[in-house]
């Protein structure tokens, strides 16, 4: 305790600064975590597996920091806070260096590189925050006579408030890197003003200096500078973060390119792609009057739609940033009505009462659970409900390739089979992307003949580029390869996103490494690393974070847009955890932990049983409240477990072990459930898996 009592100002019996420091660590860690995760997802590929890897490495690194905290004797409050304040700066520098030196220009990281990348960027902040948390808990116990659960609650409270705040401001108000830098600035300001400057005048000067620094950051727009570094070679002229991603406009060789999360979405001279996107559907029927276009670059697609005699075109896009660009670029004089709707088309199509002769869905392939919705049976059914008799539907679930491997075949089969359930005819077309056109009316892939008959003058989709005999043969080959036994892609069983992940992972030649990494993380780590009581913590946390994912997806099915309610779900769970950690309930403590775990396992099983009933509640308000509140009980239990396991163990090592188990368990739960279990098993079976997970925890924890 030498460090703690070494400074005159620190020599007090109780110190409110410890609680405040815990709050700040929770707030800053949570803010940086959310912002870094958003950015790491953008850089590394953006699906649940990457998110899981990020969360996993974040929590495991924090666990490492907590473990280190339990092993060291430093108790100097100033040093602890200063170390923590520096850590996000180092992480940010690592992010910039790693994203430019780990990969070649324009290269998307492989899974393995993503793993290393996230380890590198999360290590400084996570190790520092885990370490600082444990040291502060130790100090809190010694100085403030406070139980570790209270410290945990204080840190969680900081996390909840920062999480809500960041969710609001990062949804289009302030760009990511500016927010990161401002957060770092605030963290430094707290440390300096609380622990290093005691003179009032100096404090005022420091505040003015930091305010000026903040203003300078806002003026110089660091996001533009940083994204120019990250997009090496492309001159990024504007960048904007939206609730759903980052939109950056770049110039290269005199051409303009629009990148969404670093992936190209629109570019100059896009004749091939835009003609395929539009004419494969539009050439099917010369009487098409009303068209619904979902996502995609609007202005260039309208150029192609303008070749037809239309009455109306409706455009649906969920990202307000893309809508704004579409509105700015849209400059053609039209003979038809254009309705631009800023709405998630999954809901939009349900709420819409219009009828369309063609629905062209240019939503990106089902690389994530969110995108998988647009290739689900439910979406196709809703689309059909908005279509006139023999109307045409088009979607593009992946790139066009000369050969489809097993992963791609399963992916396309799950979507084809879903389309076949809804439409009488479905025809694949191999272009620069793989397209599926579907209708109850007759379909043709003889685009050469169709273009001649229609009189539409195209530069690419015409008889010069398309040889009907070969296009038909290829389409027939794809249909022949479709596996009818592959499960249909559904909202509650988003198998397409799982297959898409498999397809993406097949780019990595070293798949054994991936498999071994996951196996070691899931099974070996807890058995080897944790004492048996912490194994209960590990599995309870894993089940809870998995249940958090389930809750989000239940909301997705019932309410429609899980992303807007994520904050509420996270806040509810964190509040439950904080409550469980802060309040000691004697009646709960009396019950054997294994019995309590069994109770929660049965609770999950009951929810699995009631699942069809819960998701069918028609009243959205009731269903939202019910579903969100489902997470409260297991989160109180998990928080209470943390309290029990740490209450008599003020010594850093024991608390740090429990905290490490909690973090590592949460990470594994997140990865396992979001990236593997939900896509593979569906929601209902995954909830049962949570029960099994708890029973497994009881078994493994019972090993001497």
């Amino acid at each position: 305790m030498k460090g703690w009592f070494s400074k005159k100002k620190d020599r007090v019996n109780t110190d409110p600064r410890i609680g405040l420091s815990l709050f700040i660590i929770g707030a800053v860690s949570c803010s940086i975590q959310l912002l870094f995760m958003k950015e790491a997802m953008n850089i590394a590929g953006g699906n649940e597996l990457i998110a899981g890897v990020f969360m996993g490495t974040w929590l495991i690194m924090s666990a490492l920091g907590a473990w280190l905290g339990g092993d060291t004797k430093t108790t100097n409050l100033r040093s602890i806070n200063l170390l923590f304040s520096f850590s996000p700066v180092v992480s940010l520098l690592f992010l910039l260096v790693a994203s430019t030196s780990f990969v070649h220009p324009g290269e998307t990281m492989s899974f393995f590189k993503s793993l290393i990348f996230t380890l590198v960027i999360t290590a400084p902040i996570c190790i520092a925050s885990g370490y600082a948390f444990i040291k502060l808990v130790e100090l809190s116990v010694l100085v403030n006579r406070s139980v570790p659960g209270k410290s945990f609650a204080m840190e969680t409270l900081g996390g909840i408030l920062a999480g809500i705040l960041i969710s609001i401001v990062s949804s289009g108000l302030v760009n990511t890197y500016l927010l990161i830098l401002l957060t770092i600035l605030l963290s430094f300001s707290f440390t300096i003003l609380t622990f290093f400057i005691y003179d009032k005048r100096k404090k005022t000067h420091f505040r003015i200096f930091m305010a000026l620094l903040g203003a300078t950051l806002i003026i110089i727009n660091p996001d533009l500078l940083i994204r120019n570094i990250l997009m090496g070679g492309v001159d990024i002229v504007s960048t904007k973060d939206t609730p759903y991603g980052n939109i950056s406009e770049g110039r290269y060789g005199g051409e303009t390119n629009l990148f969404y999360d670093y992936r190209l979405v629109a570019y100059s001279n896009d004749i091939m792609e835009r003609e395929e996107d539009i004419h494969f559907a539009m050439l099917q029927d010369r009487t098409i009057k009303d068209v619904l276009l979902i996502s995609g670059p609007l202005s260039s697609r309208l150029k192609e739609l303008s070749k037809y005699y239309l009455t109306s075109v409706t455009f649906m896009e969920r990202d307000p940033g893309l809508i704004k660009i579409a509105e700015e670029e849209e400059e053609y004089s039209r003979s038809y009505d254009l309705n631009i709707k800023n709405i998630d088309a999954f809901n939009g199509i349900k709420l819409d009462s219009s009828k369309y002769d063609a629905i062209i869905s240019l939503v990106p392939p089902p690389s994530s659970l969110s995108l998988s919705r647009f290739y689900s049976l439910e979406f196709f059914k809703n689309a059909k409900a908005r279509m006139t008799g023999d109307a045409v539907f088009l979607c593009a679930p992946g790139p066009g390739e000369d050969y489809f491997g097993d992963e791609a075949t399963k992916l396309y089969s799950s979507i084809y089979n879903a389309l076949k359930k809804v439409f009488l005819n479905v025809s694949p077309v191999l272009g620069n992307k793989l397209y599926f056109i579907a209708s109850d009316g007759p379909l043709s892939v003889s685009f050469s003949m169709l273009s001649i008959e229609s009189g539409i003058e195209n530069q690419y989709v015409n008889s010069y580029y398309f040889i009907d005999e070969l296009t038909e043969e290829k389409s027939g080959q794809i249909v022949k390869n479709i596996d009818k036994k592959v499960r249909i892609n559904r909202i509650s069983n988003p198998i397409a996103s799982y297959y898409y992940q498999q397809y993406s992972l097949s780019k990595d030649t070293n798949r054994i490494t991936i498999a071994l990494t996951i196996i070691v993380l899931v099974f070996a780590l807890p058995v080897i690393a944790f004492r048996r009581k912490n194994i209960y913590m590990y599995f309870s946390s894993a089940a809870l974070s998995g249940f958090e994912i389930i809750i989000l997806f239940m909301l997705q099915i019932t309410v429609g847009n899980m992303y807007q309610i994520t904050g509420a779900v996270v806040a509810t769970i964190m509040a439950g955890l904080a409550l469980g950690a802060i309040i000691g309930i004697k009646s709960i403590s009396k019950i054997d932990i294994r019995k309590r775990m069994s109770g929660i396992a049965l609770y999950y099983a009951l929810i699995a049983l009631l699942f069809p009933f819960i998701v069918s509640i028609a009243d959205k308000k009731i269903s939202t409240i019910l579903i969100v509140s489902l997470s409260f009980l297991p989160s109180i239990f998990t928080g209470h477990l943390f309290r029990e396991l740490t209450i008599n163990n003020g010594k850093g090592k024991a608390t740090s072990n429990t905290y490490s188990a909690d973090l590592a368990g949460s990470a594994i739960g997140f990865i396992l459930i979001s990236a593997v279990a939900v896509p593979l098993l569906g929601l209902q079976l995954t909830i049962i898996l949570l029960s099994l997970m708890l029973f497994m925890g009881i078994f493994v924890g019972s090993i001497k």
Binding site: R263, L264, N269, E401, D402, Y460, I519
Partner: protein, 381 residues
Amino acid sequence: MNDMKNLAYNIERGPFIRSFLAASAGMFCFSRGLAADNLYDKVGKRNTKEALFWDSSARGVQCTLCPNHCVISERKAGLCGVRKVSNSRLYTISYGNPCTANIDPIEKKPLYHFMPGSRTFSIATAGCNLACLNCQNWTISKVTPDETNNYDLMPETVVNRAVSGRCSVIAYTYTEPVTFFEYAYDTAVIAKEKGLKNIIKSSGYINPEPLRQWCEVMDAANIDLKAFNNETYLKLSGVRLQPVLDTLKILKENGVWLEITNLVIPSWTDNLDEIRDMCKWLTDNGFSDAPLHFSRFHPMYKLNQLPPTPVETLFEAASIATEEGIKFVYIGNVPGNDKEDTKCPKCGAVVIERQGYSILLKNIADGKCISCGEIIPGVFN
């Protein structure tokens, strides 16, 4: 918290961990044992053939087909994934088992001066001896024939399928035909006997001796010259530049009709000085008659975060090539551009007018420009 002490059952932690690790190691070894299969386990015996180019060395069997010169130990495969050692001999497992077989117009390869308007029966097996970051056929090139769903097409059948599909040309393409050398060679021999032509679309990463053998049966080749800088070549494709340049020379020496493709990749191969150096080398080495195709890049495989090649850059590259003396310069992957037609280098008349993969007009007779009689290099009959 006293009940914590009573939580353990009679399972010991130490033995449990030891058992877990032992079981894991056992399973790993078992699976590795299964993976180290016999030559014919996953591909049929008829799809396995002793390789034509290999040597025995002290360290194992050395494949001498391509400049990778893989030294391969027993039961292992070379970098291409298709050449395996069994009983100290090298075998190819890509024989008669293409995973893709399509009919394509010859312009799609692209070959513009070789039998324009022909249909090609195009085949490829899995595997590749390069490691391109922008591979457009990565679903086949990054796997081996035992991982793909294959057709059963022995050389005779390929030729028969080509004939029944009204194809006058067989193309060995998509991945890298060097890796299925023996299959392509045997097929080409039969095709030649039946009056069909053989073409390769290749990266040209092959040793001189096998290439010379190929030249006996191959009529035309389109070689990807991916960059003109060894460092870029290594980073982009994992191989060296010089062997590719040697391939171009050998093909020319042996009378194989040659066209060259240069994919212009933003921030990788779009340096105009480097393009000029490449064109200079081509003209200095007698390739001014070889058509040069500058192709537009689109984000692909691992290079997914790049913009497409600006069209203006392709035109600048084409101008440089013309300035340096390349007589026939084309731009690919840009529909409707005016660099699709073949123009007479003497009078400037359009001798072959193209749009997409279609030939609109042929002002050429006996390989000569109808307007001025200038010989247009290529095979036009």
